[in-house]
Symmetry: C2
Subunit: 241 residues, 2 copies
DNA sequence: CGGCTTGTTGAACCCACTCAAAGGTTGTGG
DNA sequence: CCACAACCTTTGAGTGGGTTCAACAAGCCG
């Protein structure tokens, strides 16, 4: 299978994700320098790991195609799906702290990714060769932080709103990355979705059903169609008290 | 009041937080360069803002003494306490994304802080003058990410464990920063603590009471004494299912 | 088809919330 | 210094949203 992709060496220059992924905000010269550092397009099958919780930090990962999930295992061995990852998104910032990844990244379907190696001692070199990269990486890291913050806030809402917010967030992110934002396939099972939202799979199913009954969305197994995005947003605008 | 502190210009060199705050991991020369960039020790009274959600990003903040809370306001105006901030901890990474802060930082008592200005155009300059700073800032940013991730995981546990985990986390962080880790004052009211943990103030009060009845902690209003840290940790080690 | 996985639906239960009231603590003015 | 008010905390009783347990339907793949 790998042979198929061996010659498929898309560089950062001509990658279609250049405005949202790593090359974002870099000069042409910087992109070429970046290009020589990046490890390009590895391919994974569903269920395979990009990296595992506890693995020594190797670098920042850029999702190129397909989707992945970010999973943390707690001390009892329970899995917690922290987020799902879409093309153009970066992960691995959690690994810079203790030089090992704080959670695992697992392919949800056939997917490809690129890798920006960042060994501690090469940090300064990278900043010299690609001066803007530090700033851009910080922006991406900052995005991750904002995402988690919003997630913590969403966590306190009732089940229906959690589900609605999840769909809205997914829709927005797909939109930003040039995908269809009103009709898409959930990359997660009800079980996984419930896990991510802090609900049981039954509740998740019921809430999707309920949103469908209200005419806001159409659910066909994993395929979601948003019929009325503004009304869906309105679902999440009820005072908690 | 400010006059009292005007001459009290402690530099990063002789700050007692040098091993955990910004100067961590920097060379002597770098610390001196850093020192010339940093705005030192502003003082705030309880309730005053370090920065407000939506304010244009001005820089990374280092808590020097006292405590603060990180607060996000959702679209309905509800407050959500994302975290509390202890001396030596850095905040503001959430502001690098959209050049404005994603949440507010508010003093919980009389406190002081330093500021590392980081205008976009000066990023490269800073990286030149203090080559290790990018790496160290990323580590701190990474710490924030890991913290939020752990918080999301804790959020799914029952009320008693949430409270126990909060106390343990606080104890660990106090310990790492050289404070007493087994006896400390909660900087938050029950109301605020409940808000932070996604519980009501009544439940928070009850859970503290319950942990006290089990002999694990002693509660005297805001003063917490941990009588048995390992048993307290054990409270959080029950299978969810 | 038959076995298996995934998703839906129903009914009973329980943890945390809500509402309410009492007890403590702190601050202020007489 | 005491009295009173304002606020915070504790405690109790009832309610409800989401879970649990269980059965059934729908895809999927041999």
């Amino acid at each position: 299978m790998d042979e198929l992709f061996k010659d498929f060496q898309i560089s950062c220059n001509n990658c279609n994700l250049d405005t949202i992924c790593l090359p974002r905000g870099l000069s042409q010269q910087e992109i070429e320098n970046l290009n020589s550092i990046i490890k390009k397009s590895s391919i994974l099958q569903q269920g395979e790991y990009i990296y595992r919780q506890g693995d020594p930090f190797k670098g920042i990962i850029a999702i190129k195609s397909g989707t992945a999930k970010l999973v943390a295992n707690d001390t009892e061995g329970n899995e917690h799906i922290l987020n799902i990852l879409l093309p153009g998104e970066l992960v691995g910032f959690d690994g810079l702290n203790n030089k090992k990844y704080n959670c695992s990244a697992i392919a949800l379907d056939v997917m490809t990714y690129c890798e920006l190696p960042l060994p501690a001692e090469q940090f300064e070199t990278l900043c010299q060769q690609v001066p803007s990269i530090a700033r851009e990486l910080f922006k991406h890291s900052s995005e991750s932080i904002c995402e988690s913050q919003n997630q913590v806030v969403s966590n306190k809402r009732p089940a229906e709103e959690k589900v609605a917010l999840f769909l809205i967030n997914l829709s927005d992110r797909l939109n930003k990355r040039g995908f269809s934002s009103l009709s898409f396939n959930l990359p997660l099972s009800r079980q996984e979705m419930g896990n991510h939202l802090g609900l049981t799979l039954e509740t998740t199913s019921r809430m999707l059903q309920h949103l469908q009954n209200g005419g806001l969305i159409t659910v066909q197994r994993k395929k979601i169609t948003i019929n009325n995005l503004s009304s869906l947003r309105a679902v999440c605008s009820h005072d908690l008290k």
